[in-house]
C-alpha cells in the first residue's frame, strides 16, 4: 500500500496512465451516449424520460463513491498523517460536489414530468441534498484557516462525521416511505431493469468511473505541483532574506 502512497512514485505512475484514462473516458462517453440516446428503448411507463436515468443514476453513484473516497482519505490522513491522503481528500471533494449537483439537477428534471414535482422533502432527496452541503462544507473548511494543516484536519473530521450520511442515503428508500422508488440494481433478487436498458446504464457508469479517476488523478497531480511551488517560493524567499546585500 505504502509503495503507491509515495508522492514521487504516484506522479510517475499518474503521468504514465493519464493518456490512457483520457482516451478511455472519451470512448466510454461516445459509446454510452449512443446507447443512452439511440441504442435503447423507451420505458413502458415512463416513455423517453427514462433516458435521464443514464445520467442521473451514474452521477448519483459517483457522488456516493467520491464521498467514500473522501472518507477513507480523511481517515488515513488523520490516523497515518500521510500527505497523499490529504491531497486525495482535497482533490476529490469538488469532483464529488459536481456529481452531486448533477444528480440533483437531473433528478429534478426527471421528477417534474414523472412525479409531478421538481422537488419533495422526502428522506432520499433530503439526505442527498445534505451530501451536497457536506462537500461544500469540506471545501470551505479547507480554505478557512491560514494554517493549511489545521484546515486539512478540521475538514477531515467533517468528512468523517458526514460518512454517516452514506448508509442513510442508501437505505432511506427502504427505511421510510419516500416518493423516490426503491433500488433497481442492488437488489437481492437481481436488477429489475430490462437488459436493453441495463447495458446502456452500465456503459455510462463505466464511463463515469473512468472520468472520475482521470479528473481525480489530474487534480492530485496539480495539488502536488502546487505544494512543490509553495516550497520553492519559500526557499527563494529564504534566500533573499539571508543573502547579504
Amino acid at each position: 500500500m505504502h509503495r503507491f502512497a509515495n508522492p514521487g512514485r504516484f506522479l510517475r505512475l499518474a503521468n504514465r496512465i493519464q493518456p490512457w484514462l483520457k482516451a478511455l473516458t472519451a470512448l466510454g462517453f461516445l459509446l454510452g451516449l449512443y446507447l443512452a440516446l439511440i441504442g435503447s428503448p423507451p420505458d413502458y411507463q415512463q416513455g423517453e424520460t427514462v433516458r435521464i436515468m443514464y445520467i442521473h443514476v451514474p452521477s448519483a453513484w459517483m457522488a456516493l463513491l467520491a464521498y467514500l473516497i473522501l472518507g477513507l482519505a480523511s481517515a488515513s490522513a488523520l490516523i497515518w498523517r500521510h500527505p497523499l491522503a490529504d491531497i486525495a481528500a482535497e482533490a476529490i471533494s469538488p469532483i464529488g460536489a459536481a456529481f452531486t449537483l448533477l444528480a440533483l439537477i437531473t433528478g429534478s428534471l426527471w421528477g417534474k414530468p414523472m412525479w409531478g414535482t421538481y422537488w419533495v422533502w422526502d428522506a432520499r432527496l433530503t439526505s442527498f441534498l445534505l451530501l451536497f452541503f457536506l462537500y461544500l462544507g469540506h471545501m470551505a473548511l479547507l480554505g478557512a484557516f491560514d494554517d493549511r494543516g489545521r484546515g486539512q484536519r478540521s475538514a477531515a473530521v467533517l468528512a468523517l462525521v458526514g460518512l454517516i450520511n452514506l448508509p442513510i442515503i442508501k437505505y432511506s428508500v427502504d427505511w421510510w416511505n419516500t416518493l423516490h422508488q426503491p433500488a433497481s440494481i442492488a437488489r437481492m433478487d437481481g436488477p429489475s431493469i430490462d437488459p436493453s436498458m441495463l447495458w446502456p446504464l452500465f456503459t455510462m457508469a463505466a464511463a463515469f468511473h473512468v472520468f472520475l479517476l482521470a479528473v481525480l488523478i489530474e487534480r492530485m497531480r496539480t495539488l502536488l505541483l502546487e505544494a512543490k511551488l509553495r516550497n520553492q517560493r519559500l526557499a527563494a524567499f529564504d534566500r533573499v532574506q539571508t543573502e547579504p546585500f
Binding site: E48, A98, L101, T222, L225, L229
Partner: protein
C-alpha cells in the same frame, strides 16, 4: 434509420431530457477543464520560478 425530428422531440419530453443531458455536458466539462487549467497554471508558475533561479545564478 432514426428520424431526426422525432428523436429531438423525445416523445414530448424534450424539455426535460435535453436539459438533463445539457447539464451533464456542462458540469462534466467544467470539472474537466478546470482541472486542466489549474495544472497548466501551476506548471507555468513552476517554470517561472526555475527561470528566475537561473537568472539569479
Amino acid at each position: 434509420m432514426i428520424d431526426l425530428g422525432s428523436f429531438l422531440a423525445m416523445g414530448g419530453y424534450a424539455a426535460y431530457v435535453w436539459p438533463a443531458y445539457g447539464a451533464g455536458v456542462v458540469i462534466l466539462a467544467a470539472v474537466w477543464f478546470d482541472g486542466l487549467r489549474r495544472r497548466r497554471a501551476v506548471e507555468r508558475a513552476l517554470q517561472a520560478v526555475a527561470q528566475s533561479r537561473e537568472n539569479d545564478a
